[in-house]
């Protein structure tokens, strides 16, 4: 095996090796991570974040506009405070609602943003006022059973009154 043949084969090998790496990076992975594009931070607090993880997507109208950067527990009111990093090109109104949703039954948990009609926009470091916590299946089931029990005992006319805050109640 003479030298030029070896050089040729090694060159081909390294080329397709790098090609494979680039293929994995671009076609397989999402290289366009918003971590590199400029962004700003928004906070939101929730009763329960459910299965929300770090780096979970933040979507508006189904489009990924940012990522969850940090999650911590506020020990004063025992709420979860989520810090999101939003792509700078997307601005949201001050009355935007942040809700925790699940894509599909087994899908990943993400934060959905529903913009409102306010004229003022949220700036870097602002807190989203209106939030909707995650739907926790157990609470839903227990509420359903409680409703059934109290509705069956007191008659259909009695309005449903629950002691605990039902999931899905808007927080002011």
């Amino acid at each position: 095996m003479n030298r030029s043949a070896i050089d040729l084969w090694v060159g081909i090998f390294v080329a397709i090796g790098f090609g494979a790496i680039i293929f994995l990076a671009l076609k397989v992975g999402n290289l366009v991570t918003l971590d590199s594009t400029p962004g700003y931070h928004l906070d939101a607090s929730f009763d329960n974040i459910g299965g929300l993880k770090l780096r979970a997507p933040v979507k508006a109208a189904g489009v990924v506009v940012g990522r969850v950067e940090a999650v911590r527990l506020d020990t004063k009111v025992y709420d979860a405070v989520v810090t999101m990093r939003i792509d700078r090109q997307y601005e949201f109104t001050k009355d935007t609602i942040a809700s925790i949703n699940t894509s599909g039954l087994l899908g990943e948990v993400y934060i959905g943003l529903d913009a409102g009609g306010d004229s003022v926009m949220l700036k870097d470091g602002d807190r989203i006022k209106k939030t909707q916590s995650a739907v926790v299946i157990e609470k839903l089931i227990s509420q359903f059973l409680f409703d059934k029990a109290s509705g069956g005992a007191a008659g259909e006319a009695a309005p449903v009154k629950t002691v605990e805050k039902p999931a899905g109640e808007t927080k002011k």
Binding site: V10, A25, G29, K53, L106
Partner: protein, 271 residues
């Protein structure tokens, strides 16, 4: 009888102690060896044609087995994965399943194991044979350091080849998964690639996989050259050295894989 028992236990303890000190001194020798090999790295790259030759022998000649194995692993993953995902109605996630399994784990680990058994054992046998036929001694007597001329190029040939081979394994595996999943089973191509793209992040998945394969490359190459250099200069010596290379490399790969996985992927699912 008690004297015999004591003598027997004493001898047994001595053997264990000898084995432990033997292992410790071998580890120390191997560390000094690694430093010596790294020290001679500039020499290996000055003789670039030597290192290129070793990349050819370790990398290019491993292509066939790596690509074929990658293809088959990807196809089997797709087949088996589909059966299980279908039960939960999540068969559209097949793309992510195949891609993540390959890129995070199977690509680096399996190509590492294959590399160890094909290229690693060849390197050990080559160096061991050169030692047996006094070629290394002849080189020393000609005032040429065999570490720079024989060992270091083979080490770097392996280290450079491994990440490339792992990436090729993963790429071909994903292609195999695509062929089986989309063409044979009939999953929507858009769902396959789309879900995959959404689920596989360049950091940490792809880059961590590459880091893993790089670490595996260092481990396998070091073990291969060390066992060859340290082999007993007889036929049995070389043969047991080759066996040791394959066994130790495989164990190191699996152990390192566990350690690295704990550090790399623990963060993704912990708040």
């Amino acid at each position: 009888m008690s004297a015999e028992l004591t003598a027997g236990v004493a001898q047994w303890l001595r053997r264990i102690g000898g084995a432990v000190t033997g292992a410790a001194s071998k580890l120390g020798f191997a560390s000094r060896f690694l430093l010596a090999v790294l020290w001679h790295t500039p020499g290996a790259f000055r003789r670039m044609h030597l290192t290129l030759r070793e990349i050819y022998f370790s990398g290019v000649l491993s292509l066939v087995i790596i690509l074929m194995s990658g293809l088959f692993v990807g196809m089997v993953l797709s087949l088996q994965g589909y059966e299980t995902l279908k039960r939960y109605g999540a068969d559209e996630q097949l793309g992510i399943l195949v891609a993540l399994s390959l890129v995070r784990e199977l690509g680096p680990v399996m190509s590492g194991l294959l590399f160890a058994s094909r290229a690693g054992s060849a390197i050990t046998a080559e160096i061991g044979l050169m030692k047996t036929t006094e070629q290394l001694a002849a080189m020393e007597m000609m005032a040429v350091d065999p570490l720079a001329r024989v060992v270091a190029p083979r080490f770097w040939g392996g280290v450079i080849s491994m990440p490339l081979l792992a990436a090729l394994f993963s790429a071909f595996g994903i292609f195999g998964g695509y062929v089986v999943g989309v063409r044979l089973i009939g999953i929507d191509a858009g769902a396959f690639w789309g879900q995959m793209k959404a689920g596989v992040d360049v950091w940490p998945d792809v880059t961590n996989g590459i880091i893993k394969s790089f670490v595996f490359g260092i481990a396998v190459s070091l073990i291969a050259v060390f066992e060859g250099y340290d082999a007993k200069p007889t036929a049995e010596g070389v043969s047991s050295a080759t066996t040791r290379t394959v066994v130790m490399s495989s164990l190191m790969i699996l152990a390192l894989d566990f350690v690295m996985t704990v550090f790399m992927f623990r963060g993704a699912s912990v708040i």
